[in-house]
């Protein structure tokens, strides 16, 4: 589903990641771990075509990302759900509108959208808050809005950057259970986190980065 082949990314300050190789199978749930600055976010940005690799190839669902044209990228993004460390919610839109955004962008009708948005909000236990604005929510609630937005489109791949960073252990477990459900229907999930407890509890495949290099699978 997602394959990194000798991928490096160099910023002006130096190499963020160096010669990374891994391959995720459909339906797999994988944790990407390492200290702050190890390159976890960079891996996710490369996979989402937000950044371009300096070296190497990235294959997503049989597509070489470096061969994509600018116009193809939106359609690639519609196949994935992105969860960001800083949530990236629209502050002047309600929870409902935020979660609906990927579906509006993809051109779904309002009926479809309303149904799916409610279902997604239900899954992250936010059904009562759909008319609230993000600033009226706690960090954990905003995080869950971001998660609902990532799953509303039924993506084939979920890329999550510290999705449980602001959640208490119970909620984290809830979200992980949700992700596990997704993997059962074939969704591939890559989760960047430094929450060792969570990783140990889940007992899934782990990719460990250290200073931009892959140190342990």
């Amino acid at each position: 589903m997602l394959k990194f082949d000798h991928v490096s990314k160099r910023y002006e300050g130096g190499d963020a990641i160096l010669d990374i190789n891994f391959h995720l199978q459909p339906g797999e749930m994988v944790f990407l771990t390492g200290h702050s600055g190890a390159g976890k976010s960079t891996v996710l940005k490369l996979a989402a075509a937000i950044e371009q690799p300096t070296h190497g190839q990235i294959q997503l669902d049989g597509q070489n990302l470096s061969k994509l044209t600018e116009a193809q990228i939106p359609y690639l993004r519609r196949k994935m759900g992105l969860i960001f460390q800083d949530y990236k919610l629209l502050q002047d839109r309600t929870v409902f509108d935020n979660v609906a955004l990927p579906m509006i962008v993809a051109g779904y009708s309002y009926q479809d959208i309303a149904k799916r948005v409610r279902a997604a909000l239900d899954k992250v236990a936010l059904l009562g808050k759909e008319h609230k604005y993000p600033h009226a929510l706690s960090g954990g609630e905003q995080q869950r809005v971001g998660i609902a937005r990532a799953v509303v489109n039924k993506p084939a791949l979920i890329l999550a950057d510290e999705p449980t960073g602001n959640l208490d252990p119970e909620l984290s477990t809830e979200i992980m259970r949700l992700f596990t459900q997704f993997t059962q229907v074939g969704v591939t999930i890559l989760i960047a986190t430094h929450d060792i407890d969570l990783i140990n509890r889940m007992g899934q495949r782990v990719i460990k980065l250290h200073q931009g290099r892959l140190v342990k699978e």
């Binding site: 950044e51 939106p74 779904y108 039924k154």
Partner: protein
């Protein structure tokens, strides 16, 4: 607007259902999205009413100025319109020429191949007309003798096409012993025409300039709007929005600015003209009374609105095409 198309092969979703919405519902959603962008962009504009009003007014003033210049020329042009028919040579006869001699001359001139027709105006007719039309009737009555000469109005053949012919005729007429003065009106018609074509060209250039100003103002407004919504644009791109989708609300914003400003400009121009109407009427009565103030007609009003709206969309498009690339998410 660029229609969404799917360059990636359609994938069947992991849940066994198609991930793409159906064509019919997609079309509906597309129209919905347009309607939504149309009204939400207006709503967004009115959320900052002061800035919005100011922008629209600046635009409206630019448009009103160029429309006013246009109308000025159009009104002025009416004058030549009335003049074209009187493209004749006025031949003033010497005071010594008797009435009989004058009509003999009239008959003689009618035979000239360069002449279309000749009209004789006796001093009595001229005085009567002057008394009736000038408003100086009282003063005229105190005159002891008629000061007006006999006049032959000679209409040349092909007066408008054949300027040389008219000039030849004019000098011929002037050299006749009975003639005191032969005055062609063509000279000042020509001048007036030249002035009007100059004015028209000036109006055209000014309109280009004002149009460019409108483009810049709208472009700048859109640029600021784009900057203040930078994050929204980036997030929307991250969840799979095409450039067409991102552009849409901004293009509608440009449309609204141009459209509303043109309506405001129309009101400004109309109010202007209403103020001018009465003095123009009075002035006109002093002369022939044939001059009427003309307003923008339907076609002109529609073109004002159409051009302004198009400039709005164009200004927005212009900024978007240069700025959207810089707004890629990071």
């Amino acid at each position: 607007m660029v229609k969404d198309k799917a360059p990636l092969p359609k994938k069947t979703g992991v849940h066994g259902v198609t991930m793409q919405p159906g064509l019919n519902s997609k079309l509906h959603a597309y129209l919905d999205a347009h309607a939504h962008a149309l009204f939400s962009s207006l709503g967004r504009l009115t959320r900052a009413p002061a800035a919005f009003m100011m922008t629209v007014l600046v635009l409206a003033i630019s448009m009103a100025l160029s429309s006013s210049f246009y109308l000025m020329v159009k009104n002025f042009q009416q004058l030549t319109g009335n003049v074209e028919a009187t493209n004749q040579i006025s031949v003033f006869l010497k005071a010594t020429v008797t009435a009989a001699k004058a009509s003999a001359l009239q008959e003689q001139l009618k035979l000239d191949p360069l002449v279309e027709s000749v009209q004789l105006i006796t001093p009595e007719q001229a005085l009567a007309e002057f008394t009736a039309n000038s408003g100086y009737g009282e003063a005229v009555n105190t005159l002891e003798q008629n000061p007006l000469p006999t006049v032959l109005l000679v209409l040349p053949k092909n007066a408008l096409e054949d300027e040389r012919g008219v000039q030849t005729l004019q000098s011929q007429l002037e050299s006749l012993p009975e003639v005191d003065l032969a005055k062609s009106e063509l000279q000042w018609v020509k001048r007036l025409r030249a002035i009007i074509s100059l004015a028209k060209r000036t109006v055209f250039l000014l309109s280009l300039l004002f149009g460019f100003a409108v483009l810049l103002i709208i472009g700048n407004t859109i640029r600021l709007e784009l900057q203040s919504r930078r994050e929204e644009v980036q997030i929307t791109q991250l969840v799979g929005a095409t450039h067409a989708f991102i552009r849409r609300p901004f293009l509608y914003t440009g449309f609204w600015l141009g459209f509303l400003a043109s309506i405001a400009a129309w009101f400004i121009v109309t109010v202007f003209l209403l103020f001018l109407r009465q003095p123009v009427q009075q002035l006109s009565e002093q002369y022939t009374g044939q001059f009427n103030l003309v307003f923008l007609d339907y076609a002109e009003t529609l073109s004002l609105i159409g051009i302004a709206s198009a400039l709005g969309v164009l200004g927005a498009w212009w900024v978007l095409s240069s700025q959207l690339q810089a707004l890629k998410p990071v």
